[in-house]
């Protein structure tokens, strides 16, 4: 076993873990005061649900064997047969524990599911959201991860799809999933009429910073070891992200006359997304170009929701889908080490197209099934009054004024569980 590589993968896994709460803060700051906790929780809950499903069967579906290129088999259900001494080869041919790889990949699944939550801000039942992401990772994420990284059909294309750290499996996947879910769930009450200003921009910047920091593990960690490619990926991650922040801000300054904080944060995230599939395969100027283009194009793309009339509340489609597609396609032309060119571009196009098609249709069916059975949306009263109070029996902030001092302070533990208020419809 190679200790350095193993150590790096474990630290990278911990960095990727931090991205999900970072994402929660990024999203949480962008919603209104009355629904900040729900937004945080919709992302955060993924760390519970997807973690458990991953060890039960996710790892097996993604990385054990191969059934027709579509998914893995069930030989590793419950991590069967894997023990601390089980080793696998990384890209450098060094041995690392399968469990380290599994933990790293688990956290990719966690954040992919969490990414979709931003599109459905303020308006879905929390219970239905939990059911949705459990089903979604099962039938969408785990198989698609197998396609790209588990030896599935996209990995078998000639030339194979380049997806270093998840442009297709993570960002296009989450972006399309979000779009399909939004089309079923519908718009927030008051979309395009009521102001829905972000309530806490410092929180957005803090979340962005945590995402950026964690992304080094996400991208560089995907080499599964420590070598020149790892360093390339880490450097490119930084370069593309910085360039994308500038790209977004310049576009915004021209179009809207100000360098906004949300623009800087959104641009950074767009750059991180776009460099994800390609970072190990381009040089530093390729990374810079990918960053600037992603920043400017995503900035333009987020305005589409108002034109097209779908309420992708926090621009998951505009940033992750568009950024993911850009990065996935641009690597086709910009790839160094002899892999670029038209053939590669066609492979990239096939990969992006396949994930878009599969994920869109399956997510649409899933979301529709949930809508028709247990109901996806919260009631209009709960949505307007604030989903935090209705779904979580909490509020994010205590703005105690005269009006809120009337509540009596009594023993807060109910005498019997049956008397406790039912908070989840």
């Amino acid at each position: 076993m190679n200790g350095a590589d193993t150590g790096f993968v474990l630290i990278s896994a911990a960095l990727v873990m931090l991205m999900t709460p970072g994402l929660a803060l990024f999203y949480g700051g962008m919603v209104r005061t009355k629904s900040v906790l729900n937004m945080l929780m919709m992302s955060f809950i993924s760390l519970g649900i997807v973690t458990v499903l991953w060890v039960l069967y996710g790892h097996s579906i993604a990385f054990s064997g191969d059934l027709g290129g579509f998914m893995g088999n069930f030989d590793m259900i419950g991590m069967k047969g894997v023990n601390p001494d089980s080793l696998m080869e990384n890209f450098a041919g060094e041995k690392i524990p399968v469990l380290a790889f599994s933990l790293f990949q688990m956290l990719f699944a966690v954040i992919t599911a969490a990414l979709m939550s931003g599109a459905l801000a303020d308006r879905v039942k929390f219970s239905s959201w939990m059911v949705f992401i459990a089903l979604w990772v099962t039938v969408v994420y785990f198989p698609v991860a197998h396609w790209v990284w588990g030896g599935g059909w996209l990995a078998k294309l000639d030339p194979a799809v380049i997806d270093f750290a998840g442009g297709t499996a993570v960002h296009i996947n989450a972006g399309v999933g979000a779009l399909a879910a939004v089309l079923v769930v519908g718009k927030r009450v008051g979309f395009k009429k009521d102001p829905m200003r972000p309530h806490n921009m410092p929180l957005v910047l803090l979340g962005t910073a945590l995402l950026w920091f964690g992304w080094f593990g996400f991208n560089a960690g995907s080499e599964l070891g420590v070598d020149g490619t790892t360093a390339t990926m880490a450097l490119n991650t930084q370069v593309a992200t910085g360039a994308a922040m500038l790209g977004w801000l310049i576009y915004e300054r021209i179009r809207h006359g100000a360098f906004t904080t949300l623009g800087a944060c959104s641009g950074a995230v767009a750059g991180l997304v776009a460099i994800t599939p390609s970072g190990g395969n381009v040089n530093v100027f390729g990374a810079m170009l990918i960053g600037v283009v992603a920043g400017a194009v995503c900035s333009w793309a987020v305005s589409l929701k108002f034109k097209l009339g779908f309420d992708d509340s926090l621009d998951v489609v505009g940033v992750h889908l568009v950024g993911g597609i850009l990065g996935t396609l641009m690597v086709g032309f910009l790839a160094i080490n002899g892999t670029g060119g038209l053939d590669q571009f066609i492979s990239q196009l096939t990969g992006a197209g396949a994930v878009i098609g599969y994920t869109f249709v399956v997510t649409l069916i899933l979301a529709f099934a949930i809508q028709k059975t247990i109901g996806f949306r919260a009631t209009e009263d709960d949505e307007v009054g604030g989903i935090d109070q209705a779904q979580h029996a909490e509020t994010g902030y205590d703005f105690s004024g005269v009006a809120s001092s009337g509540s009596s302070v009594s023993a807060t533990v109910p005498a019997t569980p049956a008397q406790s208020k039912k908070v989840d419809a």
């Binding site: 200003r197 906004t260 305005s303």
Partner: protein, 112 residues
């Protein structure tokens, strides 16, 4: 007696307080307020979506004074509140029928 009410920019509070003290005013009431005048509010941009914020933050200062001092005091407040930029606010005076000091029950000018 007169009630002087000033709805002005929040950052002028200290100047106004000092001016009132220099004039000899014993007490005042300050309330956070919001509103707009002819300039309306401002526009904020989040990811290209523009939000018009009509109501801008103001403070309301209220002072009770004797009739003879009212005109002069209005001028004092106006002078202290003025920045010369748009949105400086308004000051007005209205007659007050009665005022009572709660602690002692004194009425009228004695209560000020």
């Amino acid at each position: 007696m007169k009630l002087i009410t000033a709805v002005v920019k929040p950052h002028r509070l200290d100047e106004i307080k000092e001016a009132l003290q220099a004039f000899g005013v014993q007490g005042l009431t300050v309330t956070e307020a919001s509103g707009y005048g002819r300039q309306r509010g401002h526009t904020e941009v989040y990811r290209g979506a523009e939000y018009t914020v009509d109501l801008v933050p103001k403070i309301r200062i209220e002072v009770l004074v004797e009739d003879d001092d009212a005109e002069q005091l209005v001028d004092v407040v106006v002078k202290a509140a003025r920045t010369g930029k748009i949105g400086d606010g308004k000051v007005w005076a209205v007659p007050v029928e009665t005022a009572v000091r709660v602690r002692t029950g004194e009425r009228g000018p004695d209560a000020l």
